[in-house]
């Protein structure tokens, strides 16, 4: 790895290098929120941010996505597939937790049954990630508890460390090496730059306020489906689903047909959906396997910390903390996980007393 230096004032230059070949996404400020949007003007790019409100899953798995288009023609139907799946994406400024969430997405969308979700997988293949390590994780972040790290370079193509006025640039994957080669105007990094990045990584790692014993939680959840802890956890939830919308690993979607009846054409689209909605599992007969709030709250947590590990030996949570920040009722996931962690301990204590 030959490290390079990218000056923050040269971001526009980087943008110009790639914007014609790639759909270039970076963080911008929109109504006071940081979101990842397609960049038309590199001056819009915001470099001073903690993490985006809406996770970058919205780039490769947009809230509304066309599956195919159709034309209705008396007794016939003509279907047109997506034509744009070969387009390339470049995502600048993604954090390690979100970069890892792309891998979890790819894992889920290629698992289960004979079909893979080619729409997502093709786009992922054509995506280059230029990520930035987190110098100052939030108090609500807990990536280190779920197997992540604020400076995890694994899932990136190019990894940047924010050194203040400049970024230390490291090419990680083969794709990344090609990218850095193209940026021949980058200056070489000095030893002190590399040393500073290592110090920043260590400082970030030590700054985590939230620590969670995930192994115990996964183990406890195997036998806690009917435990009364779920009553407490779901009591003040208002069932809005913001946690799933802003979760980088939530993949559930709904499918609807939108037909323009005047022009006999339409499209089948998929839109984000949430298991917190009371309609999520409602069958046409009226039967609803999850018709109470407790079941729905439980399903989401079990999905991330029990079903996902059971199926893929991976956790379904990247520790970004967005669900904690956005919950309108401040129904804090960390409190829930702490309660789940304690299951079994009270019984053990009782047994010890007896």
């Amino acid at each position: 790895m030959e490290q390079k230096i990218l000056k923050k004032e040269d971001i526009g230059k980087l943008y110009n290098e790639f914007s014609s070949e790639y759909k270039f996404y970076a963080p911008i400020k929109q109504k006071g929120n940081i979101v990842f949007e397609r960049i038309e003007n590199p001056d819009d790019i915001v470099l001073d941010y903690l993490n985006s409100r809406i996770p970058p899953k919205s780039i490769l798995f947009p809230q509304m996505e066309v599956l195919f288009e159709y034309k209705l023609d008396d007794k016939d139907v003509e279907i047109t597939d997506r034509q744009d799946l070969d387009e390339k994406f470049m995502i600048f400024g993604i954090r390690p937790c979100d970069a890892y969430s792309y891998e979890l997405f790819a894992n889920f969308f290629s698992f289960h049954g004979n079909w893979k979700d080619e729409i997502y997988l093709k786009k992922k293949e054509n995506t280059t990630l230029i990520g930035i390590g987190c110098n100052t994780p939030r108090s609500t972040c807990f990536c280190t508890s779920v197997g992540g790290h604020p400076f995890n370079k694994e899932n990136m193509d190019v990894f940047l460390t924010d050194l203040g006025e400049t970024y230390l640039v490291e090419a990680i994957s083969d794709k990344g090496k090609e990218i850095v080669k193209k940026l021949s105007w980058l200056s070489d990094a000095a030893d002190k730059d590399v040393k500073k990045s290592e110090e920043l990584a260590k400082k970030a790692e030590e700054s985590f306020v939230t620590q969670i014993d995930v192994d115990t939680i996964v183990k406890n959840l195997e036998k806690s489906f009917d435990h009364p802890v779920w009553d407490e956890i779901s009591e003040v939830c208002i069932g809005c689903g913001s946690c799933s919308y802003l979760c980088p690993t939530c993949t559930c979607f709904d499918v609807i047909d939108e037909t323009d009846q005047y022009n006999n054409k339409g499209r089948r689209v998929r839109i984000w959906d949430t298991c917190q909605s009371c309609l999520y599992t409602l069958e046409t007969s009226g039967h609803n396997p999850r018709d109470t709030k407790i079941q729905r709250c439980r399903n989401r947590i079990m999905h991330k910390f029990s079903y996902y590990p059971a199926n893929y030996d991976l956790l379904g949570c990247v520790g970004c903390g967005r669900c904690i920040m956005v919950c309108p009722a401040n129904n804090d996931l960390r409190d829930h996980l702490a309660k789940i962690e304690k299951i079994g301990k009270e019984e053990k204590e009782e047994k010890a007393v007896v």
């Binding site: 109504k31 839109i271 309108p328 009722a329």
Partner: protein, 336 residues
């Protein structure tokens, strides 16, 4: 009295009334607010005995409308035999209005609900503060004197309280719940109507159509259709929301601006005359959309046309669910 002092008094009175209600078994549970885990939040709490009373707080970050938990569609608070429990509810003015609205619309049994009323001094405008602080993490928010003190790791910023409360709190005319003494312990009042000039939206109304349209588009186009506003609203209790209907599909749920706009437009129409101006919708929006300008406009129309304000008593039905022979009809009979 400073806001800080008022808060201490309010908190003490809430706890006193709560303790009395529980010890005299006037109620089985009390729904209130408790200390949140995040600086700009509070967590609703359901307490069941006197020992838990000290968990109830009041700190200007109590923006959820607790009447939401009484509304149908939320699990009913029941005992082990399925009998509905008697519920005490910590009521700022707008929560009281929501309870009245639900009672008038026959969605709750007011005999099973007792409000703990107090003189609300407003809620902090979370999104305004977050926007001004920007991308630094806020670690602590407190009220000292008449200032909001916001602290981070190595920085501190003060905001004057009166300028940084929710827009709806600034113009609120029903700070104390309007209810009978039988329904509301603590502070209460009996209001027949309110005096509201709606001066705050005159400026908006004076704009041209294009300006208004552009403003609304800019506000709404970032909407992610997460439906938090609908879920937080105590008046939105339909078993099947219009946007979820699929036999037939009335409105689609995609993120095209037309679909976003239609959702907010129709939801607002369904709230006309019913909205209790609590501001929960704006407080809970994850992208910080201020829906209040729509709700204020609707309140003005309803007040002007029907001389009605929602939630002042538990009997009168909102005008959209009711008609009187003397209702104005000229908009139907106008000839062009």
């Amino acid at each position: 009295m400073t806001i800080e002092a008022e808060n201490k008094e309010i908190e003490a009175s809430i706890r006193d009334v709560a303790k009395k209600m529980l010890s005299e078994k006037q109620v089985d549970v009390i729904i209130g607010y408790s200390q949140g885990t995040l600086p700009l939040s509070s967590t609703p709490i359901v307490i069941r005995n006197e020992e838990q009373v000290d968990n109830l707080i009041w700190d200007n970050l109590c923006y959820i409308n607790l009447a939401r938990y009484l509304a149908p569609l939320m699990p009913q608070l029941c005992d082990s035999e399925g009998n509905a429990l008697k519920i005490g509810i910590v009521s700022k003015g707008c929560v009281g209005r929501a309870v009245n609205l639900l009672a008038a619309e026959k969605q709750i049994d007011l005999d099973k609900v007792k409000m703990i009323g107090f003189n609300c001094n407003g809620n902090v405008n979370r999104s305004k503060i977050a926007m001004e602080i920007g991308e630094k993490e806020i670690l602590d928010v407190s009220i000292t004197g008449n200032e909001i003190i916001v602290k981070g790791k190595d920085w501190e910023q003060n905001f004057p309280y009166s300028e940084y409360i929710n827009e709806l709190c600034k113009v609120c005319q029903v700070k104390i719940p309007s209810a009978t003494e039988a329904t509301c312990l603590g502070e209460c009042q009996q209001l027949e109507s309110i005096n509201d000039e709606f001066a705050d939206i005159d400026e908006f109304e004076a704009k041209s159509t294009e300006e208004k349209w552009d403003y609304i588009k800019k506000e709404l186009e970032v909407c992610t259709l997460c439906y938090s506003c609908r879920q937080a609203c105590p008046a939105c209790y339909c078993n099947l929301c219009f946007v979820d209907q699929n036999k037939p599909i009335w409105f689609n749920k995609t993120t095209e601006y037309t679909d976003i706009f239609t959702f907010h437009l129709i939801r607002s129409m369904h709230l006309a005359g019913r909205c209790v101006a609590c501001g929960a919708c704006s407080s809970v929006c994850p992208v910080g959309i201020d829906l209040n300008f729509i709700t204020r406009k609707l309140e003005k129309i309803v007040k002007t046309r029907f001389n009605y304000t929602s939630g002042l008593n538990a009997k009168t039905l909102p005008p959209m669910m009711n008609f009187k022979m003397e209702d104005a009809e000229e908009f139907m009979l106008e000839e062009d």
